[in-house]
């Protein structure tokens, strides 16, 4: 096992990658109380080893459902998810998830250190190795000094950094992120986006990043998958041909960024008006977390 932080980047942009994660004809229907809601309809895509793929879609597009299915937290009604050649039937040990609700995904009765260390204890890792991984991970997210604080003593952005450090220390092959920055302020968000890019570069981890923010998806991703409204299908699989070195100022003001952004925006507008088939049986989504 290589050190998560010091691992050399093996990335060669543009080089073809073997598929690590395969999502094949996944469909998810919720049933209960006499009605059924088809949240996800027939999604097929694959993510290559070491890729950073963003999934963007309008509110209520079943993004969270999809992510939970991939994470093995929800069973699809039909279809399969394959990770590294093995079918996902429960949460796979080589996958880590970062949720949007940082306030609810960290254990409030544990310190920052305890939170990061807990999954490693589950992996039956030696004490010294755990301490090393925890220290490196916290350093990597810029929280080396906060290890003995409790999560609720930190700001929202710092709490999400802790959740990211926990995921990093876990040394996953695939990092799933479910709108991780939807609830933090704009400046913090920009910092965290850059943190994700730099972690991705340094660790060579595969990242699947779900967001409803079009700019964020274009800025972060190598590829952007545009989802339709629920019941969800993939409207477009878009390669982001921005330079690999990105920064908030230049990248976001580049003409190509504007074009890509414009394109994705159009697709989302289309998605809102052209739902993936028959009308939804459930009530309209009660507001959006924008």
């Amino acid at each position: 096992m290589s050190d998560p932080v010091a691992a050399p980047s093996t990335r060669q942009p543009g080089q073809p990658r073997t598929a690590l994660l395969d999502v094949d004809r996944v469909q998810k229907t919720y049933t209960g109380q006499g009605r059924t809601v088809e949240a996800v309809r027939n999604l097929t895509f694959s993510v290559g080893d070491g890729e950073l793929v963003c999934i963007v879609g309008p509110s209520g597009a079943g993004k969270t459902t999809l992510l939970k299915v991939i994470a093995g937290l929800l069973e699809p009604t039909s279809g399969t998810v394959t990770l590294d050649g093995t079918a996902v039937t429960g949460p796979p040990p080589s996958m880590a998830v970062v949720f949007q609700e940082y306030g609810r995904s960290l254990f409030p009765w544990m310190t920052v250190e305890g939170n990061v260390e807990l999954p490693l204890k589950q992996k039956k890792m030696g004490k010294e190795r755990r301490a090393e991984l925890v220290r490196d991970a916290l350093e990597a997210v810029g929280l080396a000094d906060a290890h003995s604080a409790y999560p609720w003593q930190l700001s929202g952005g710092m709490q999400q950094r802790v959740a990211i450090a926990r995921a990093v220390a876990y040394q996953p092959k695939v990092l799933l992120m479910d709108e991780p920055f939807a609830a933090v302020d704009a400046q913090t968000r920009a910092d965290l986006e850059d943190l994700i890019r730099s972690l991705w570069h340094r660790l060579g981890v595969t990242i699947l990043f779900v967001t409803h923010d079009i700019d964020e998806s274009v800025y972060l991703g190598e590829r952007v998958l545009v989802l339709s409204s629920s019941p969800t299908v993939i409207m477009e699989d878009l390669a982001i041909d921005l330079p690999d070195e990105r920064n908030q100022l230049d990248t976001r003001s580049s003409p190509r960024f504007a074009e890509l952004r414009h394109h994705v925006y159009e697709q989302i507008q289309l998605a809102k008006h052209r739902r993936g088939g028959e009308p939804v049986t459930g009530p309209a989504p009660a507001g959006s977390p924008t």
Binding site: Y30, G32, Q33, S59, T64, T65, Q100, P285
Partner: protein
Amino acid sequence: MTTTDVPALDTPDARAGLVPARRRFAPPSSALGLVGLAGFAVLIEVLPRTGLVPRDYFPPLSAMVTAMVDEVQTQGFWDALTETLMGWGIGLGIALVAGISLGLLLGSVEVLRRYTASTIEFLRPVPSVALIPLAVLLFGFQLQSTLLLVVYAAFWQVLIQVLYGVQDVDPVARETARSYQLGPVARLRYLIWPTALPYVMTGVRLAAAVALILAVTAGLVGVGRGLGAEIAVAQSSGAVPLVYGLVITTGLIGVVINLLARALERRTLSWHSSMRADIGG
């Protein structure tokens, strides 16, 4: 809670309401609960008959019911029931009036609250049953003895909850009230009371339960009459099925009181977005 702690709105589970929202461990509403009750009844009917438990100590349910049917035809039962309910009701009433008014006073006047805090912390855990010998000496076997125990036990439940409630007034709302120069009465009426109300209702519910415990206990230990005394008499005369029948009766009274208190709580707080857990009681 900040908005970020609200569950994600676009999870289909939350959106379509297919997953039931969190609920208190509420009174039975499901058929399964009735099945459980029926199963329990069958169990206490059958167990003694099979000889798995000694029948002398544990008569079948039917015997308990029969004994109770006989009992309710006697005047003595109804006198005892009245005595218990009076001890409960009057005691609870006194405790509520005293607890709420003192709680509002102590809670809203900072100096009073600070100087009484230690005394309250000392007196509150004094077990009410410690007063049994005193009650007997002072009032003998009068209703007053029962009342002393009931009031003492129930009073602290109410007082403490009211104090918690007054403490919970939002600092911003407090500042707002001050900037609009609300007088003491208006502050109490529009600021303190509405905030404290959920806590007061929790206090009422806890106090109602404790008051019943003491109202029955008083009779049981010979401080007063009532259902407790009936149980003691039935026990000493070896009327085992009747002991069970009377204990079940007090349990049913407890259930009714509990349901009433919760219904009252729900009605009063229907405007209140979140029912608070009775943590801190």
